[in-house]
């Protein structure tokens, strides 16, 4: 019964923090105890995508998913599932519609509605073993390219696939490669942009952690097509596990002859190294990123000249992000036509979204371009947490925008989202419910842009700061009638005059929120009310002395220790120390605390 079974334990950053490594240790001990250590293998995989229910594990070959597994559950899983082939029902996921437990991946809507191309190996293979990648057709694309295709043919294939850059702007990848190939030079570089700085996006981290060889293979194919022999992966330092897996993968690829000189006896050479970023959001911009590799402050410069003409150390350079590179092996392995069958007319293939915020199923979701937001949020994401009402989805990070309920049937691709005032960006989808204040969200993004502005150009450095100050004032109930016009004016000026994308798109979150949620701004300014009850300066908490039974639950749980009183007598909140976290309201069993 237990023969040939594999237990895939998610050991990505999310599940690792939920206790995946203790789980793996417990499994090893239990399997040894039952004498199964030879027949059943345990694989620590990259992100399986279902972070909300972590730690998760999958038992192959039946593809049974167990969620929120603890070391205490291990003995039962081994005895029941591994040895008897029966399911441990209490650890299965319950379908929210049918209210019945579902066991296999194909039955679970979170997975069933996805179409995984880039994430094909993530959560399935051990990312630290090259043989697991090659066993699933890894490096087959590279072999095909080196044996059967000329660089021009590779370029043509990528152009035909319709792949567009997954880093945000959506520039056609084949066209970009063509520019770099055309520029004559004795030396050229390619770079993988893994400086995934958009808050709310973690697909690049997951691909690097879970399937690093796919990125290396994509870069090798690109290098061959563009005539490049050296490359860098610029990865942010906040992703230590991604850097570790990438370095292991590069070493293994060198040993296997996929990297280095005369790769697979084709005469093609390619050297790849990892450069750890030092923490600056602006380094996601390509000219700033290159300045950073050169050892300078990461500040963008004026384009043209574009990197394809003059990039790293003045040499022609091509930059694509992790997800873009990771698509390449699949396109070359299966053909451009196969790839182009997915997606919409102008946006081909699939896109990975990081689904987070107030949604039931947070995690990584890969769907064909053109899938509607409603399908992603309500079918795959299983709707809003705690039965609350949906308010907005923030898409595209600090350069994107918030879209309301009326836009949920929008088919997501590069062009429709830009038209709606948001952008695909890196693919972060942060879901907001009725308790999220949209003015506060606009302030949050402006605060982010202000802090991350490199300071080189005035509109971005000074303009975002002024916008932040206005928004901060509005959330404190001190807004003025003319503020909204001032904000719009500033936003349009910054957009038109900033040097790089960070500045040009910094006003996007506020423009979109003003367009769709203007009434919330007006409520703050004119009525001094926060409709979502989120802006703490406009809130006060009081205990109703008549309803309070003096149980002390509020005081016991108050993290600010600002509630005092004697048992069985009404308690009092000391207003000036209150951090307005709302813990007391949640803990009070007698509805004695009000928020106004």
């Amino acid at each position: 019964m237990a023969e040939n079974k594999r237990i895939l334990v998610c050991a990505g950053t999310g599940c690792a923090s939920s206790g995946a490594h203790k789980l793996i240790d417990a499994l090893k001990v239990e399997l040894k105890k039952q004498g199964l250590e030879e027949t059943v293998s345990i694989v620590g995989t990259g992100c399986q995508g279902f972070c909300e229910k972590g730690p998760t594990l999958v038992i192959e070959p039946e593809d049974i998913l167990y969620t929120s597994v603890t070391p205490e559950d291990v003995a039962e899983i081994v005895a029941t599932d591994i040895m008897k082939g029966e399911r441990v029902e209490r650890l299965l996921l319950v379908d929210q519609v049918t209210q019945k437990p579902v066991s296999t991946l194909s039955e679970i809507r979170f997975f069933a509605k996805q179409h995984r191309i880039v994430l094909k190996n993530c959560g399935v293979i051990d990312p630290q073993k090259i043989e697991e990648y090659t066993a699933r057709d890894g490096y087959a694309g590279l072999q095909k390219v080196l044996k059967e295709m000329s660089p021009e043919e590779v370029l043509e294939e990528v152009k035909k696939s319709g792949l567009r850059g997954r880093g945000g702007a959506g520039f056609p990848t084949g066209l970009k490669w063509g520019f770099c190939r055309q520029t004559p030079s004795d030396k050229k570089y390619i770079i993988c942009n893994a400086d995934e700085g958009d808050p709310g996006a973690f697909m690049d981290r997951s691909v690097l952690e879970g399937d690093p060889h796919s990125v290396i293979e994509g870069m090798l194919i690109g290098a061959y097509a563009m005539g490049v022999d050296e490359g860098y992966v610029y990865c942010r330092a906040e992703y230590p596990l991604a850097i570790k897996h990438l370095e292991i993968a590069i070493r293994q690829a060198e040993e296997a002859g996929y990297l280095g000189n005369n790769i697979l006896n084709s005469g093609f050479n390619f050297k790849l190294r990892v450069f750890a970023g030092a923490g600056a959001f602006v380094c996601g911009e390509e000219t700033a990123l290159m300045a950073s590799i050169e050892g300078k402050r990461g500040m963008p410069r004026v384009r043209p000249p574009f990197p394809a003409v003059s990039g790293l150390w003045g040499k022609p350079t091509n930059i694509n992000n992790v997800e873009t590179w990771s698509n390449i092996p699949h396109i070359l392995r299966n053909g451009a036509e196969w790839y182009a069958q997915f997606g919409t007319e102008k946006s081909k293939g699939t896109k990975i979204f990081a689904l987070t915020g107030k949604v039931n199923n947070t995690g990584l979701v890969e769907v064909p371009m053109g899938t509607t937001l409603r399908e992603i949020i309500f079918d795959i994401g299983d709707g809003i947490q705690n039965g609350k009402a949906f308010k907005a989805v923030q898409i595209g990070g600090p350069s994107g925008g918030c879209l309301p309920e009326s836009m949920l049937d929008l088919e997501v691709d590069y062009d429709t989202l830009t038209k709606a005032g948001a952008m695909v960006g890196s693919g972060g989808l942060v879901i907001m419910d009725e308790t999220t204040c949209m003015v506060d969200i606009a302030r949050f993004f402006l605060n982010f842009s202000t802090k991350e502005s490199c300071g080189k150009c005035t509109p971005c450095r000074e303009g975002t700061k002024r916008m932040y100050e206005i928004l901060d004032r509005i959330t404190k109930g001190k807004g003025k009638a003319e503020d909204l016009d001032t904000l719009e004016n500033l936003a349009l000026t910054i957009k038109a005059t900033s040097l790089c994308g960070l500045g040009q798109f910094a006003p996007s979150p506020i423009l979109a929120t003003l367009k769709y949620f203007r009434h919330e701004f007006e409520a703050h300014i004119f009525d001094h009310k926060c409709p979502a009850h989120a802006c703490s300066a406009l809130l006060s908490y009081t205990i109703d002395a008549e309803k309070c039974k003096g149980c002390g639950m509020c005081a016991k749980n108050c993290p600010a220790t600002c509630i005092t009183g004697e048992k069985k007598k009404p308690y009092v909140i000391k207003e000036e120390d209150c951090i307005k976290c709302g813990t007391c309201i949640e803990k009070c069993k007698f509805d004695a605390i009000t928020r106004a």
Binding site: C51, F202, A278, I293, A354
Partner: protein, 160 residues
Amino acid sequence: MCTACEELVDPKQIKLDEIINKYKHENGPLIPILQHAQEVYGYLPTDVLKHISKATRIPLARIYGVVTFYAQFRLTPAGRNVINVCLGTACHVRGGAKVLETIEKVLKIKDGATTEDRRYTLEVVACIGACGLAPVISINNEVHGRLLPESIAGILAKYE
């Protein structure tokens, strides 16, 4: 080597010179040298920066410019435990600000500061990429997710 000389040679200094020699002939050596130097010393003391400047012939002013530009580098020593509070979008929406306020209250320090006993350093970061578990903090690179304000004190107490 005689015992008197041993005292004069600082093992950290030897390591620093090894790092400089490893990278100095590569293109763009500055950031990797600074990163490794910070690993050795825990922060970047002025003398270390001066030494790097001399050995690499990169002007001290340029080195200082780079050090102050990037969030990773620190010019003052950190506490024994570095707490990174994530205030990315997902964490913000799920109550990250309240987690920060609670930590500030418990430790009585603000963002960027170190407690007097040097036990904790508190830093706000934009996103650590564990958005599925928001709100999150990481202490010495260990991620703690799905936090509630009332569970903070217990987690902090585990780090001596």
